[in-house]
Amino acid sequence: MIKLLSLELYKIFKRPRTFISFGLVTAIALVIQLAMTAGGKDFLSFGMQGITEQFDVNGNILNGYLVAYLILQSLLIHIPLLIALVAGDTLAGEANMGTLRLVLTRPVSRSELVLVKFMASIIYSLLLIIWLAAVALLLSIVLFGTGDMINMKSETFILLLKNDIPWRYFAAFGFASLAMSSIVSLAMFLSAFAENAIGPIVATMGIVVVLTILSNLELPLFNLIKPYLFTTHMIGWKGFFDDPVPYAAITRSAGVLLSYTAGLLLATILYFNKKDIQS
């Protein structure tokens, strides 16, 4: 299993398209960092108008923690699309290349093959999130330093002390990894049905976009289904920047995401074990 997994990762990281994601994450982070370097102070004073009228704000407000938070807010919603690029390709891409039929003439079981590909995609997602942490958080700290962080919400703001922040990021990235595993499962599930990688990649992106819109619409009809949509729970990482941290809600979200991951993985294995390989 370990040998197969390492070869699966080798296959993934030998393809140039794999690095598109890493490039895009870097580019977006750099653009935001550049914009904050140039006009971050004005942006902050505009955003904090309501606060500065009533409070006296001192210190390095435009710091790495805040910039990283802004990057994550704009970027984490797009990471699923990048993960779909690789996970959606796992089975359908091999079917399209014609290698799937050759792979399946070997004494490896179909379930094992799905599991190996799932784990390889999970490792890819983790690496992408670690990379995101490096460029969004570490680079921002290098560029803007550290300081207390003001988390501005629609009606309130939360002041997080400098020393109270690093663990929150650690937890948020951990939660994001869990959220991404449900995307891996979804993309692989769709990939099992297809014989061309474009379909499952686009379908995964489409589902994520549509469900994200549903999760954000404040309409009574959608409020009923929202708790069951994985996209509602994918933004659970933000909870770690609240005070107090809503652990019950975060645990519930993690449970929903884990259920999606396990359910879709199981469905993929069951379907793939019965599938006639005609590619």
Partner: protein, 302 residues
């Protein structure tokens, strides 16, 4: 002789279309078994069922005497296969491809074996190049190397010469003969070309519309003593009538003023020619075909 591969009553339907219908076959050790049929006859579906890629609606497959089921995939360790096109990981090197398929074989395959199969298929020295730079013939040979990596007893080669140039075809043919004669491999080979099966196989099965038409030793199926002879001539309206009353009348299977077809023994062809020339028929061409070829062409023309 013991059976290495056996199919019993294999049937597969796709919707209303029956791709393979109640098919039985037995391949014994040491045979080069040709599976002959026109495109769409069901060869690939049959091969995919033998390899567990497609699940039969009915029937069973036995590898080395054991029932081959999804729970029993370790039996595939006895088999190496290439199916249709030699599709491999084009963006990786030949060596990487071999490494990947060696790992998928679930056996401890030493590096020396990788070098050995590369040598065997004539790709030594090119293994570090990406597969996308290979010619089709080289890809096909790499496909065979991949199929051989775990030293299986049985090789299943689906249309191995399809799309190759004459040199590529000759190379693959030579390789298959070497694998059979020197390495002692049992080979199942599918083709839509009779002469290919005739040249390489010891046994064959003709598949048509999913059904077995005939099966047996190639030597027995292709009877050298029975030949279909087509004789072309300059227009001669009297010739058909003349032959109808001649000593050759029972051998004539078709006659027009431009062409007469006989079913005769090879040795009788000169005598027929002499008879025709003596009787004023101006022969322009004599074309002899195996009776099986004729049979096969009749099938493929319907």
């Amino acid at each position: 002789m013991s059976a290495i591969l056996e199919a019993r009553g294999l049937t597969k339907k796709f919707g209303e279309r029956v791709a393979v219908n109640d098919l039985n076959l037995t391949i014994n050790r040491g045979q080069v078994y040709g599976l002959l049929g026109q495109n769409g006859a069901g060869k690939s579906t049959l091969i995919r069922m033998l390899l567990g890629l497609i699940f039969p609606d009915q029937g069973e497959v036995y590898i080395n005497g054991s029932h081959f089921t999804p729970r029993n995939r370790r039996l595939l360790a006895h088999v190496g296969a290439i199916i249709e096109r030699p599709d491999l990981y084009n963006y990786l090197s030949g060596w990487d491809n071999l490494r990947i398929f060696a790992a998928l074989s679930k056996q401890n395959i030493p590096t020396a074996r990788l070098h050995e199969v590369l040598e065997m298929v004539g790709l030594a020295g090119r293994e570090k190049d990406k597969v996308k730079t290979y010619s089709l013939g080289m890809k096909q040979r790499l496909g065979i190397a991949v199929a051989l990596i775990h030293d299986p007893e049985l090789l299943i080669l689906d249309e191995p010469t399809n799309g190759l140039d004459p040199q590529g075809i000759a190379e693959i043919r030579k390789l298959i003969q070497m694998l059979s004669m020197q390495q002692g491999k049992t080979i199942l080979l599918s083709s839509h070309l009779l002469y290919e099966v005739e040249q390489m196989a010891t046994h064959m099965l003709i598949l048509h519309k999913g059904r077995k038409i005939t099966e047996g030793a190639v030597k027995e199926l292709i009877d050298p003593d029975e030949t279909i002879v087509e004789i072309d001539m300059l227009h001669n309206a009297a010739a058909p009538a003349m032959l109808a009353t001649s000593e050759w009348k029972q051998h004539v299977t078709a006659a027009t003023p431009a062409q007469i077809t006989f079913r005769v023994n090879n040795r009788q062809v000169p005598a027929i020619n002499e008879y025709l020339v003596k009787n004023g028929v101006q022969v322009t061409r004599i074309h002899a075909k195996h009776s099986l070829e004729n049979y096969f062409l009749t099938l493929t023309n319907d």
